[in-house]
Amino acid sequence: MTKSFLEVDGLSKVYPDGLGGELTVFEDIRFALEKGEFVCIVGHSGCGKSTILNVLAGLDEASAGNVVMNGKEVKGPGLERGVVFQNYSLLPWKTALNNIVFAVQARWPKWSKEKVKEHSERYLKMVGLDHALNRKPSQLSGGMRQRVSIARAFATQPELLLLDEPFGALDALTRGVIQDELVKIWEETRQTVFMITHDVDEAILLSDRIFLMSNGPNARIAESVKVDIPHPRARATIFQNPAYHKTRDYLVDFLVNRSGSALPEKDGSPKVAEPAKGVAQPEPATAQSETESETAARAVNA
């Protein structure tokens, strides 16, 4: 078996339940991510999604199991894993630009001041904030703050990007705009992304695969749903794809009817579901277009 880029093996988290006993939030979480994949994880509140993400980030420790990235065990936080928090977590005494400079300097301490600044400005420009370089977070709207936060994470070019419900606190209109921006940046950079969301449409728009979690306690990642929609995607046109509706119906059915009882495969890995398999695609088949874009991305990087 070939090693994946990121392997999560038998992760579980146990808290004392306050009555002398123990509460297992999630257990035996197993999954693997390949380089360049965008994976969303969806599940009801209380299933421990955020804890899983924090364990991947190294900010929290699992009670059992381990995480291996690039053949190395993940212990503690590190710059090779970037995090975008739901509440932005910008440093309020720094300007938008300096928040990014702060991260870039930490990532490449040997870079000259000019290089750091130029690099930071480029990423702020990518999220459309080149007009707000010198504003403090308190002078920015929620959407703009989250853009700065996303720019900060992308600017450090981590090998794995962890997004913890990045659009959860934003209004629907702003959320849509930033989703499109995230799609654009991701098409450009092809980062490996692991993201938590509550929004099924958002998950379909962004991901290659969607992990579905059963309800806590004792939550598991029950299924891994393949999103058979070719890149590049756009929020405005994705509804026209028949695969979109198949996938969406499947996800909603899981969350409404099956999340209480769903179980993974016997070996603990998520069941693979392909709800849109065989649905006629308006564009070339998914598998092919993905390899194409991957080759293209590699060509750009080379």
Binding site: G58, G78, V83, S89, L91, F102, A106
Partner: protein, 275 residues
């Protein structure tokens, strides 16, 4: 309609005029209805009864003192500027020494729950001690009245700074600390680039409380140790029964205290941030 500021200023001035007017009227010397006796003439016409001087007298004296604040005519006759400078020097020396101790220890206590629990009992016992209660011990150990006054300022400035620093550091938002952690900052860098700016407003609040207390305490300390300083000056003028000077120096204590507070307030503005 004049702006709020103008109206407030007008009202302030009229309160002042009213208060000074009442004071002036209440402190007029009684009319001399008879010619002075021989004794009274020998006493230079002084009243038998001592009265609080009227504001006109205080203002006259203030004008004279402030037009030449730095004269030095021997140990018991120095200008108000020199006396205030001595006091400010002592306050700042003690205060800076307290900063050098309180800020690092506050940081330590704020960052380490272990150190907090270990040191907290001592802080709670030492904090309520009146700083002047240290004076005899300080005089005995240090054997120098000037340094003892500075020590008293040091000891009274420490507590608000220490506790506010610890509180500010302990309550830095976890998100910001996580930002430092995910960016692999060293502990020293985290302390300087994330925790210090995040806690700075709280620390400055503590420093502002400290400078206020230090200025309150220096007057009492100088009354005890004597020699120089505004506290000594007040007490000395009381012994001279020069109440106009006493009132004048009380006012000056207020003005300098306000300036010190204003300076710290400005510094506080510099480090403030909005979330």
């Amino acid at each position: 309609m004049a702006s709020l500021n103008v109206r407030a200023a007008l009202l302030s001035v009229s309160f002042l005029v009213l208060a000074l007017g009442l004071w002036e009227m209440a402190t007029q010397p009684p009319e001399a209805d008879a010619a002075m006796t021989e004794y009274e003439r020998l006493m230079g016409g002084a009243d038998q009864e001592s009265r609080v001087p009227p504001p006109s007298e205080v203002i006259k004296l203030a004008w004279a003192e402030l037009s030449n604040p730095f004269y030095d005519a021997g140990a018991n006759d120095k200008g108000i500027g020199i006396q205030l400078a001595y006091s400010v020097y002592r306050v700042l020396t003690g205060y800076l020494a307290a900063m050098a101790v309180a800020l690092p220890i506050g940081f330590l206590i704020g960052m380490s729950p272990l150190m907090y629990k270990a040191l907290n009992p001592y802080i709670q016992v030492l904090r309520p001690i009146s700083p002047l209660a240290w004076m005899p011990l300080a005089l005995f150990i240090i054997q120098d009245s000037d340094a003892s006054a500075i020590f008293v300022i040091f000891i009274c400035s420490i507590w608000p700074m220490l506790l506010n620093t610890a509180f500010g550091v302990a309550n830095v938002r976890e998100d910001w600390v996580n930002v430092a952690r995910t960016h692999e900052l060293s502990p020293v860098k985290t302390a300087l680039t994330v925790i210090l700016p995040a806690a700075a407003p709280t620390i400055l609040t503590g420093m502002r409380i400290s400078i206020g207390i230090a200025w309150l305490v220096i007057v009492a300390a100088e009354m005890l140790v004597g020699g120089t300083g505004i506290g000594y000056y007040v007490w000395n003028e009381w012994n001279n029964l020069d109440l106009a000077s006493v009132i004048f120096s009380i006012l000056m204590i207020g003005v300098v205290g306000m300036l010190l507070d204003l300076a710290l307030g400005k510094a506080q503005k510099l480090v403030e941030y909005k979330e």
